[in-house]
Symmetry: C2
Subunit: 411 residues, 2 copies
């Protein structure tokens, strides 16, 4: 199944909107075994739409078009496709009912332009949109498929998931792909590849696919099979090997996140957490509370950014600060320890570091970070040396702190 | 100047990387008066590259190609273009010297594949890359221009800015565009448009262009002229009108940000700031310290997320909390007031609200936020009602707090 994606919209061409729809379609269509061969971004013009659809339909099996289905005048995709496929518009009752309900529930008046959204081409399959007023359309011509979807990301994704993917599976002989992704933190991509060289050879010999998906601080490994669920157990066995080999690095599977995972751990154990932050200045606390229900285990934080507050709020002595500097093992330890007491929690994480771009010295270069972890059983600190990008250093600090906590909570 | 952008790379097609290069090119080329007529995303294959360049060169005046210039084997853009323009590769001495210096400075060995990056087509203008090892190329054929650039965003942007835009201005009769953008916070796009209807009519009658660029909490208004600098003063006069009309909403111009602006104000006045946060849990502090040098005015924060810490750390009485709830005017006032004292600062901002998705009641729906502002002269609180999206509510809270502070500091 070769696919061309056509994205319609001047806002994409002039860069006012980033084309995240095309990326999502690329990811999801690849996952089910489809092959994206080209992407076109074009303007809301009739000639341009006809020319591009004509080009794409000759080259690919499936053309997915997004954008240009709103109620405003410049959204002309529907009219153009109706003409291209030599059919005509007629009111589609189920869509009209959906639109009417949509407006009455929101107590907003329905305009003529909204009613016109229910006028849809006769000779096509209407794809239900459960998230908005513009229905999708599925045209077929000489065995080729042309799909037209609204450009609003959650509407497009909803229709693809609920209406399009099941039809793809019926119509095309897709390889039945099976994927499983394992998530690692704290080991760079090339170092990870080196450590897993033997493992990688073995899984490739079995005919399984492997993709490294790196992002700052996290590398995801996706193993895939073209044999579908049949290889599920085999893949899970292989992934378990990595988990056993690298228990500190492997933190989860699929779409799990570290705040989610430590949230579950803390809830299960009935532990309360707080943070004392210097360089990250709230970023760590913010990640922890990004999970719904975090108030069940997160109490709060002290952001002691200045020397003064490290003294006044935490009670770290001036001598300790001046002799060791704020970015030091002893200060990280004391921040966590004092935080445990002041915040009256079971666990306290602390961060102190030189995020950059300024503030580095020969002894303490930009990217140096100390993380502290205090519990009722004692306090420890760990040293990290990240790079020279401020934002990335802060991100890595937060991920490292959360992953360290996860590992400690396993014990 | 009609432009087609070709983005090369399988990582773009399968959605592993989002195509931010195309958006940036769209924005910048539009700004100088160019017209992006189409975008193509294609794979690293010779036939595909030739076919797309051929298509684009027939349709546009300029073709900008990004990607496929790295030292690895699958990066074949250079070889393909060399063949397409019927020329041959030869070592380009300045590029070779640049690459040699690049590796010796980083004390990394230079591989044969790195040397080969200096082999460049004879019949083209070499575009210096000051940020990496892959030079850009500028080909001309029957009056059309084809430009090939690396896909790494900061390298591509550097070459465009330093080498390509100046050449565009020489070669093409571009309308000399002049733009100025004014930044507003706290007024929605449609409400703003209503308030500015008369103003908008007047500037359109003058032949000036106007674009509303909305993002959560902020609406930017860009006024543009095709007459270039000639209209600079006129545009500035018009924008000053908005500033006088909406002094609470207008916070700056061009690329300024609220943390930057309040940072300058605090530095000038020699004031120290801190925050006491509940719902935003560090997001506000984090925005304030996102500016280099923020340690000169930011002391720190108390993130009193739980009722317990509001009592224990701030000393807000249990009765006050139970009678009014944590999301109330009195608690916002006390959070700011107590923070001023505990953090020993000149200004303290506080936030308490129901970010959602859960926790709303009939009296206090999701999106209700109280912001407090304490100074040595007293304390005030302001009520906001945002929407039902958690992330957006938190973003709006931070922007509203910073913009309120900006306005107070003007007095």
């Amino acid at each position: 199944m070769n696919v061309i994606v056509i994205s319609i919209g001047d806002e994409l061409l002039i860069g006012q909107t980033i084309n995240t729809n095309a990326s999502w379609l690329g990811q999801e269509i690849s996952k089910i075994g489809g092959n994206i061969i080209e992407g076109l971004t074009i303007s809301d013009k009739k000639d341009q739409i006809i020319q591009s659809v004509d080009y794409a339909i000759n080259k690919a099996d499936v053309v997915v078009i997004t954008g240009g289905l709103g109620p405003t005048k410049d959204d002309i995709t529907k009219h153009t496709l109706t003409e291209y496929f030599e059919t005509e518009l007629e009111i589609h009752q189920p869509t009209l009912e959906k639109i009417t309900t949509y407006f009455s529930m929101r107590k907003r008046p329905m305009l003529e332009s909204n009613i016109q959204q229910a006028a849809l081409p006769k000779d096509c399959t209407i794809l239900t949109n459960n998230y908005g007023t513009a229905s999708g359309m599925w045209f077929e011509k000489t065995g080729k498929v042309v799909i037209s979807l609204p450009g609003v990301p959650y509407e497009m994704k909803g229709i693809m998931t609920e209406e399009v993917f099941p039809r793809f599976k019926e119509k095309f002989q897709l390889q039945s792909m099976y994927h499983k992704t394992i998530l690692t933190q704290g080991i760079g991509e090339s170092f990870l590849a080196e450590q897993l060289a033997d493992w990688e050879n073995r899984i490739r010999q079995e005919g399984l696919g492997l993709a490294y998906l790196p992002s700052p601080g996290i590398v995801k490994l996706r193993v895939s099979s073209t044999q579908g669920e049949k290889d599920k157990e085999k893949i899970e066995e292989y992934l378990k090997e990595i988990q056993v080999l690298l228990p500190q690095a492997v933190f989860g599977y699929e779409n799990e996140t570290l705040p989610e995972i430590i949230g579950k751990q803390l809830l299960e154990k009935g532990l309360k957490i707080g943070t004392v932050e210097s360089c990250t200045s709230g970023l760590l606390a913010n990640q922890i509370v990004s999970i719904s229900g975090a108030s069940d285990y997160f109490e709060g934080s002290l952001l002691t950014y200045s020397y003064k507050l490290k003294e006044e709020i935490l009670g770290i002595s001036k001598t300790t600060l001046l002799e060791n500097g704020a970015v030091s093992e002893i200060v990280a330890l004391q921040m966590a320890e004092k935080g445990l007491e002041k915040l009256d929690v079971d666990i306290c994480l602390s961060t102190t570091g030189i995020a950059g771009p300024l503030g580095g010295t020969e002894d303490k270069p930009v990217g140096l970070v100390w993380i502290g972890l205090a519990t009722k059983n004692g306090v420890k600190a760990m040293k990290f040396q990240f790079g020279d990008n401020r934002e990335r250093n802060l991100q890595m600090t937060v991920l490292s702190a959360l992953n360290w906590l996860r590992y400690e909570l396993l014990k």
